[in-house]
Amino acid sequence: MTAISGPAFGRDYENPQPRMGFFTDTSVCIGCKACEVACKEWNAIPEDGLELSGMSYDNTVGLGANTWRHVAFIEQRDVLADAENGDGGMRWLMASDVCKHCTHAACLDVCPTGSLFRTEFGTVVVQEDICNGCGYCISACPYGVIDQRKDDGRAWKCTMCYDRLGAGMEPACAKACPTDSIQFGPLDELRERARERVSAVEGARLYGDSPDDGVGGDGAFFLLMDEPEVYGLPPDPVVTTRDLPEMWRHVAKAAATLATGAVVAFLASRRK
């Protein structure tokens, strides 16, 4: 796990950079969706449907090929509160979700073309001119983030504004966020800041911050005010390629056994 803060996890880049990330502090999110709009403007992402969802003020519904930032709205009410006596324990959670830029990124592992790659900032980016639309990455993502555009077949997701980072700018969503709910910076610093914040906010917890979790920690992690499931996030994500080496070992062992068996059988037959 030592490499997670380093540039591109040991890859050779001419200009190694500290690993950059997002810390999304949902306790100060006001649900303005400026992140969604700024993301779409900067990355020229198509409109993603004009239907009323009925899910509170969330008509974006989820991340996808045409939505790289998604603000969830969760209305909660204390059922014991007096319904005719004021707001009675009403809570409205808002949280801006995004690609997690995992330390162990399954999408990247399974990509056969090398379209998905680890940048010098430690982020995970799809190269749209290489992607062949095979779709392996889609089922590989433990968060259901990456998706195909129906009309062009290729896979799309958040690049953490790779083009802006290269020019020394912060990603469009973080730039547009009026309350600093979305913070961008070197992952080490963000984790430090998050540790301070989580101890200061009652009822808060961090999500995706730990290098020991199933994806080796997220490059985009969150401070949540409730369980991850409440926000539509998997409680214990695991990199879907985690067991691949083990599986391959089993396959190799089985193949070796088969081969040995075949050799033995062959030799045995020759003795006859």
Binding site: I30, E47, G86, M90, R91
Partner: protein, 854 residues
């Protein structure tokens, strides 16, 4: 504020991070409530009862900031014997003429004093004095905040005199008890008292509290009085003129503050100089005499007005011709947007410019708006897209119902594409009076042009035509002689916006830029397009373009943009120091008297004569700023004081009083006077009202905006990235109302008022809570008003439901509290829609007379 001003709300979040408590008072639970420490849902239209209750709490428990109140407010002043309060007259003040729905304000004055209104109705006194023309409407000379007072004022510093302002205030609000607040507003007493305690504990020497409001306060038949109630409260608590205090009017559009300072309003001239009425033979001297104050900075109004006239008519404006004072238009009554529509319907108003305005869906009673436009000769619409106001003649609701036929409409409609804010230069003035310059990023595409371009070139063509004609020179002279010579640049001959700013900022006879309004002269030697903006181009530099980052300067940040007047960031900041000129506390030190240097100093530009010591007493007979004492912190006021009681200036009473909205399910619990007796109710068959307590219209309806859209949607419904975020018209109701009316989440509802019916998708949400009001369960229906028939996302317009019923001071409509019914299913199509509304009217017993009573 988070909902409609998310960018500004970052500062509330920053204050919260530093420990500030945020209280949100709103009928619904919004994105602001989500961030607030305390959300207080209340019945829409009951805020004066709520705020009045806090005033009563403050006075009852002695929580006022007594030293501040004594030094800087009019608490000690004694009011005329002739004054009768709502306590004496069951809900109205002395001077009410029930026939004309107006007050004679004479009896509200200070004792034995000739008090003259400057703010709300300076012209009323002119009429009285001259026994002149009876004006078609009163209160059309809305000037600035000042009001005229002359001579010596009788006071009682012990605040014991039964007719002193303090005692009148105490009696007036005595009945606004926590029990009454609970009954009227639906706010439980414990919760109300929690607000009282939080607010009073956070006000005083060491701490200050700020109020932020928006059109949730202004859009009522008592809108101005809502804000007056907050003013009284903040003055009692010592929260005006001090850092962290104030009453912040959050604006609905970029530079709405700017368009009041340099007005798009009919009744004021730039810098809040009143617009003159059409009196016979009124010359400049008479106007100044009638409308300026004796004491305070409004006494110099002649300098401000003459400089304005010089800016507009240049060398043509001379002392001999009264500086072209006669060229100014004159008022013949109220000419607000609602009167304009009535004149269109009457066939008197023939042409209409809509610059970034979409009344076909964006203004109250959209049907009357459209019928008015259908009665014009010509209509010019300048906007980004083909908004509803440009297309109603072919696809508006009246075409569908058969009330209008395209081939019968004679209006010639011109659509001209407008440039966006990135395509033009100019300034935005925000709520704290801060001007920020905006540079042009790109040229506008195609035929799109800026409003500045349009206005300038239109003016140029009109002037050329008039000059060539010269058949009625007398009439045309005010246009022909205007200074209309801004330099232009670029391929489109775009006028240089900085040249306009320079004219606004002012110059002297040598053409040198001015730096302060104190340099303005009454003799025509200075020109200035707006006296309060004087200095915005000081030293020939565009001060609004100042951009020093906050981290590189003091916490007051004077080098970011430029605030009027004189780059002063907090008005009346003399009040941030005690009467002796010392800061009230170290924590709240802002501006103070430096005795050694003999001057006012501090973190901000002092709002006081720099060398006037705190113990200064004016000479008898002194006038203007010289008549202000060393403790007259409210320098624009005719008496130098913050007004707990307004002896003049408001058309509907010296003290805010709870009245029910025009349409209400409830009777006024406090007085037999149901609603504001001076409210403007327009009588028209398309503008009917539901009766009080109607069982047919049992719910309270309130309209509002969402973060994702802008006003009536002209700037958001055509943009896919915004349209997709709130893609359909909806209404918000509580689960209890959904059950009561059989409404389904995501299903359709039809909402009906006495004037119209619309359909909307239903959001059933706990964020809308039923309230207990006068012992009954009250349901409120929330209606965002962003949609219309055109654009990427469409829906019925909330404004179809609203009425022409107005605040008498501002002529702003009551769009925040009305009565409605809601039922499942979509609305009928075609003529059946009219039948539905007529059926409701019949069942509720509504006639043209309903709701017309004083």
């Amino acid at each position: 504020m988070a909902e409609c001003h998310p960018v500004g709300f970052q500062w509330v979040m920053e204050a919260k991070a530093r420990g500030a408590k945020v209280i949100h008072v709103d009928p619904r639970f919004t994105r602001t409530s989500a961030m607030a420490d305390l959300h207080v849902p209340l019945r829409a239209g009951s805020d004066i009862a709520f705020l009045g209750g806090i005033i009563n709490y403050v006075l009852e428990h002695g929580k006022e900031f007594r030293e501040y109140v004594l030094a800087y407010t009019n608490a000690a002043m004694i009011v005329s014997e002739d004054f009768a309060d709502t306590e004496d007259l069951d809900g109205v003040f002395s001077g009410l003429d029930r026939k004309t729905h107006t007050y004679d304000m004479k009896s509200w004055q200070y004792e034995g004093r000739d008090v003259q209104a400057m703010a709300g109705d300076p012209d009323a006194q002119w009429t009285e004095r001259t026994q002149g023309v009876r004006e078609a409407a009163r209160g059309e000379m809305h000037g600035s905040g000042g009001a005229q007072v002359s001579g010596d004022i009788r006071t009682d510093e012990t605040l014991q005199h039964p007719r002193c302002v303090y005692q009148i205030l105490k009696r007036h609000y005595a009945r606004y008890t926590p029990e009454i607040v609970e009954q009227i507003c639906g706010v439980p007493q414990e919760k109300f008292l929690q607000v009282c305690e939080l607010l009073t504990a956070n006000s005083g020497r060491d701490r200050t509290s700020a109020f932020a409001y928006a059109v949730g306060w202004t859009q009522h038949t008592v809108g101005v009085q809502y804000i007056r109630t907050a003013s009284i409260l903040q003055s009692l608590l010592g929260n005006i003129g001090r850092p962290g205090g104030g009453i912040l009017a959050l604006r609905g559009h970029a530079s709405i503050q700017g368009s009041t300072d340099i007005p798009t309003l009919f009744n004021i001239l730039p810098g809040y100089i009143p617009m003159p009425h059409a009196h016979s033979n009124e010359d400049l001297d008479t106007f100044i005499e009638a409308d300026s104050t004796v004491k305070g900075y409004w006494a110099n109004m002649r300098s401000y007005l003459v400089s304005l006239l010089k800016a507009w008519w240049g060398d043509y404006a001379t002392a001999e011709n009264d500086f072209c004072f006669d060229y100014l238009p004159r008022l013949t009554g109220s000419h607000s947007t609602y009167e304009t529509v009535q004149e269109q319907l009457a066939g008197n108003c023939k042409g209409y410019f809509l610059l970034g305005e979409n009344p076909a869906v964006g203004t109250s009673n959209t049907k009357m708006q459209r019928l008015g436009m259908a009665n014009l000769d010509w209509l010019v619409v300048r906007d980004f897209s083909l908004i509803e106001s440009a297309t109603w003649w072919k696809d508006g609701p009246e075409i569908e119902t058969g009330e209008l036929r395209t081939e019968d409409i004679g209006t010639e409609v011109f659509f001209l594409p407008a440039a966006a804010h990135t395509e033009k230069a100019g300034s935005f003035t925000n709520t704290q009076r801060l001007l920020q310059w905006r540079h042009q990023a790109v040229e506008p595409a195609g035929d799109a042009r800026s409003d500045l371009w349009f206005t300038y070139h239109l003016g140029k063509r009109i002037r050329e035509k008039l000059a060539a004609r010269s058949d009625d020179l007398e009439r045309d002279r005010p246009i022909i002689q205007l200074t209309w010579d801004y330099p232009t640049k670029g391929e489109h001959d775009e006028p240089d916006a900085e040249a306009v700013l320079a004219e606004i900022g002012g110059w002297n006879a040598k053409g040198e830029p001015l730096s302060t309004y104190e340099q303005l002269e009454p003799d025509g030697s200075t020109a200035c397009g707006c006296w309060i903006y004087c200095g915005v181009y000081a030293d020939g530099v565009n001060q609004a373009a100042n951009r020093k980052p906050g981290k590189d300067q003091s916490w007051v940040a004077p080098d970011w943009g430029w605030a009027w007047p004189l780059n002063r960031r907090i008005l009346y900041n003399r009040a941030s120091a005690d009467p002796d000129g010392k800061p009230w506390s170290d924590r709240k030190a802002y501006v103070w008297w430096d005795a050694e240097k003999g001057e006012w100093t501090g973190h901000d530009v002092p709002d006081f004569k720099k060398t006037k010591p705190p113990d200064f007493e004016p000479e008898p007979g002194a006038k203007g700023p010289d008549a202000l004492s060393g403790t007259d912190a409210f320098v624009m006021q005719g008496d130098g004081k913050a007004w707990l009681y307004a002896p003049a200036g408001l058309t509907d009473g010296p003290l805010p009083t709870h009245y029910e909205p025009q349409e209400s399910p409830f009777e006024n619990l406090l007085y037999s006077q149901q609603s504001n007796p001076t409210r403007q109710v327009v009588r028209h068959r398309e503008n009917r009202f539901s009766p009080t307590g109607s069982e047919i219209f049992p719910y309270v309806l309130t309209t509002y905006r969402l973060t994702e859209h802008h006003t009536a949607g002209g700037m958001s419904r055509w943009l896919p990235y915004l349209a997709e975020l709130q893609p359909e018209m909806f209404c918000e109701i509580s689960p209890a109302l959904a059950a009561e009316r059989g409404l389904e989440h995501r299903g359709w509802a039809t909402i009906v008022t006495a004037r119209g019916a619309i359909e909307a998708r239903v959001l059933v949400t706990d964020r809308i809570t039923p309230l207990k009001v006068q012992g009954q369960t009250l349901h409120q229906v929330g209606v965002p008003y962003h949609w219309g028939p055109n654009g990427l996302v469409t829906g019925d317009a909330g404004n179809e439901l609203l009425a022409f019923v107005l605040d008498p001071n501002t002529h702003i409509q009551e769009s925040k509290a009305l009565s409605c019914d809601i039922r499942p299913g979509r609305r009928p199509r075609g003529p059946a829609l009219l039948d539905l509304v007529r059926d409701y009217q019949r069942r509720a017993g509504i006639t043209d007379d309903t709701g017309q009573e004083t």
